[in-house]
Amino acid sequence: MDKTIYLDNAATTKIDKEVIKAMLPYLTDQYGNPSSIYSLARESKKAIESSREEVAKAINAKPNEIYFTSGGTESDNWAIKGIAFANENKGKHIITTNIEHHAVLHTCKYLKKYGFEVTYLPVKENGIVDINELRKAIREDTILISVMFANNEIGSIQPIKEIGKIAKEKGIYFHTDAVQAVGKIPIDVNELNIDLLSLSGHKLHGPKSIGALYIKNGVKISNMLHGGGQERKMRAGTENVPSIVGLGKAIEIATENINEKNEKIIELRDILINGLLEKIPDTILNGDREKRLPGNVNVCFKYIEGESILLMLDMKGVCASSGSACTSGSLEPSHVLLALGLEHEIAHGSLRLTLSKYNTQKDVKYLLEILPEIVQKLRDMSPLINQN
């Protein structure tokens, strides 16, 4: 097999050719600094503003509620620290979950040093937050609830609408890390009562190192970067014009006919899930069967280890990922899998396959052909299975 089969779209995605086409002029002739006044610069300014409109439209926000950042991590950092420091006179309590991305978890941990208290909501076995737990966790001094829209590892989609409603009733700001969700499922920040939302370009076939934070008008938040007057004086620094243009184009493409495009991806996902569960004994599906991202497959194969699976898949041209301790720099299994209540040993054999619009029936078929053999080969080597 000389072709690469890319099934790691939750890590990053292939950039769309249309996106490159849109960016190209801003990498070449249209190099003006948007803050200058001559017409070359005005072209850059215009491009940024039209991209801002696209991003706003994608989540039903207003253009002046969109701030460009360097990506999901910066957006999460800004949202959480910015709300915390601007509102600490009201209280110092933050609620989040124990399956958030590290950009959220480590930011919360950092805030503890400044006297903030953080409650980490557990999730149910299916990877979804229990709304009753949220209600119980709210205190007088809670100033922020931060719950991800959909999980990056197991794809579970959180009850954002209910959380938004509760946050609004209680007058608490609600941030959602929607890096995995924007461009994958329809999002309406007004209907869902979201105050802040993080998104990223490279997860939706756009360029890397560009993202945005939606901040609802009227939300009290401190600046991210101090310096020039860019992004309405909230996030200083000369704008990354080509990438901003790329993000605008990517989000426009990703959100148009989203439901139609999802049908195809969901079909592939379900063939994959059903096929794996059917063909490989002792396989567990992680996350919720229904409330999951269209492209997410996450399973554990008992008795074997994830890095070994990835090496064997790589040999066959397949790119995937795992939550095994052996694949992480910290040698700890994925905190998300542990939050589901899985044993270390089971989390060890996890495999995540994430699909995009570029995947085909053929890819899925090929995978269902090679994976059972790989799992068998590794199980033959496993001391957890006795031959006799």
Binding site: E305, S308, L311, A325, C326, M381, S382, P383
Partner: protein, 127 residues
């Protein structure tokens, strides 16, 4: 992730001496406290030499490759010589391991030691 040497990959894809032994003279099972991996080593001893050896490993590419390599290194050796093989020697024989993966080679060294100890215990030769 840091890359594995060609030798590591070769041993990972074609591990030597994988399997179990019904009539083993010594069996050692060791676990890796760092990431939770497990290795089981079976030896057959004749005239104080490791006549045959088999392993089973639940772990990463480096764990499998070091298991495979250590079996090759100790096969035919006297027990005393086999006991002297260190994890560093195993890693070296594989043209090195990424720093983060050095701990996996401990499993290989410990597995052999545990199997020999088990053999000695069974034969009343424990020191």
């Amino acid at each position: 992730m840091e890359e594995y040497s060609e030798k590591v990959m070769e041993h990972f894809f074609n591990p030597r001496n994988v399997g179990e032994m019904d009539d083993a003279d010594g069996v050692g099972e060791v676990g890796n406290p760092r990431c939770g991996d497990i290795m089981r080593m079976y030896i057959k001893v004749k005239d104080n030499k490791i006549e045959d050896i088999k392993f089973k490993t639940f772990g990463c590419g480096a764990a499998v490759a070091t298991s495979s390599m250590v079996t090759e290194m100790v096969k035919g050796k006297t027990l005393e010589k086999a006991l002297k093989i260190t994890n560093m020697a195993v890693a070296k024989a594989l043209d090195g391991l990424p720093p983060l993966k050095m701990h996996c080679s401990n499993l290989a060294e410990a597995g052999v030691k545990a199997a020999i100890q088990d053999y000695r215990k069974k034969n009343g030769k424990e020191e």
